[in-house]
Subunit: 262 residues, 2 copies
């Protein structure tokens, strides 16, 4: 184990994500499309994926500042997916986090383009690293997520775990792996981290479904879904027992995810 | 001037693009979404942008094989933009090149995801180079194109030239610059090439508008638009006079674009 070093608590990491996203410069050619992009990005999300990325980087000796572009790229991909998912062509959601969804506020055409632009901007951030690892993770996670969404809309949800491993899990795993990329953790030391990322994604999804009364809660019943969440949180902690890192902030994140109510 | 070397004619470059696209492997997680992606990609387009990229690479001493992933990445971005543009949220086109547009054939939700996936796959191809230059060009061109499309749908077409420089021109310029990237042509030798790419894009657009009776043909009248196309083709040849390259195939491409009828 390395010596413990001063770790930023999760709240501080979230503030850093917000500040970074708030000052992010978009391509000037986008013109007034930027308004819809900022509207979507500043919608009061919990920033769990980028915070996870920063926390893993710090836990393994990387620097938060170095990890910020990678962390933000994940949040941009997440936001792109929300904008497109909300469109009438997919989920037809008129509201998100208590505000009009992007297409209601700006029109479907603008929302479509705002999502496209966010995906491209995400790749720009991922390219800013000398190593291609971050961009490689981002493209794989994005394609996995799209594959999960495709299964979702075509009703191919026989294997609900696989569907969510793709649709939700891949971005959580990418957050973890990008944090390791930034900190320079070699591939050989990533097995437990990968399992940790998958379980954090599953934990997020199961709790989400319990709160919404769908997905796992519908499939398993509320009680069994709650038990699954608890077991998944325990597993996430066990994975952290197996890594060479300062895991206090990550354990805090797991616990917050396990008991969240919104 | 370098010594002339054997150059592949444009038809052979197009065949190489078709073959490369036909065997391109997509992320397995996309599952059956791949069907709609292949449908869109195999729609009998002219492959002008990737052929331009390959021709520039060969003209400047690069290898066609090295340029194929870059060339294909541009075609994937182009195809993604067509799929999304055809959606009811944007242009609401039910047909493209004599076939049902992707959303008519597969549904709007699937078409939306197919476009998203193509954009991500394009970035995967662009990442496959050791140098970040190709990926950098691709992201800039994609964002410029989206900015042009935004101007188009919001009716901000006061500056038609700027609109098309973004919406159409950026991918043509990217094709030229990526060809130079692959061949290792230094930045200092790119001024005439950049102007060439912009004029080829403009030539393509003006001829397109003459054929469709809109855009420049509507704004200038058919005769003046045809004259603009001729002047632009002449300028493109003049730019080629100024570069250190074997330009025969590129001149053939310009001439084909100038007289095309479909």
């Amino acid at each position: 184990m390395p010596e413990p070093w001063p770790m930023r608590p999760a709240d501080e990491l979230r503030d850093a994500v917000e500040a970074y996203l708030g000052t992010l410069a978009f391509a000037p050619e986008l013109g007034a499309l930027e308004e819809s992009i900022r509207y979507s990005l500043e919608s009061g999300g919990k920033r769990i994926r980028p915070v996870l990325c920063l926390a893993v980087a710090e836990a393994t000796g990387g620097s938060m500042d170095d990890a910020l572009p990678a962390a933000a790229s994940i949040e941009l991909v997440h936001t792109f997916s929300l904008i497109h998912d909300d469109l009438p062509a997919l989920d037809d959601d008129v509201e998100r986090r208590g505000r009009e969804s992007t297409w209601v506020a700006f029109g479907q055409g603008v929302a479509l383009l705002a999502g496209d632009a966010l995906l491209a901007e995400a790749f720009r951030l991922a390219h800013s690293y000398e190593s291609p690892a971050v961009a490689h993770e981002l493209v794989g996670a994005t394609l996995g997520m799209i594959g999960g969404q495709y299964r979702d809309i075509t009703g191919d949800d026989a294997d609900l775990e696989e569907l969510h491993r793709l649709k939700t899990g891949r971005l959580f795993v990418a957050g973890v792996l990008m944090g390791l990329d930034v900190a320079g953790v070699p591939d050989a030391q990533r097995t437990a981290w990968l399992a940790f990322g998958e379980d954090v994604g599953l934990l997020f999804q199961v709790v989400d479904d319990v709160l919404d009364g769908d997905g796992y809660a519908e499939r398993l019943g509320r009680e069994r879904a709650e038990r699954l969440a608890e077991e998944t949180a325990v597993r996430a902690h066990l994975h952290l027992d197996a890594v060479d890192a300062e895991t206090a902030v990550l354990r805090e994140l797991v616990d917050v995810l396990a008991v969240r109510t919104g």
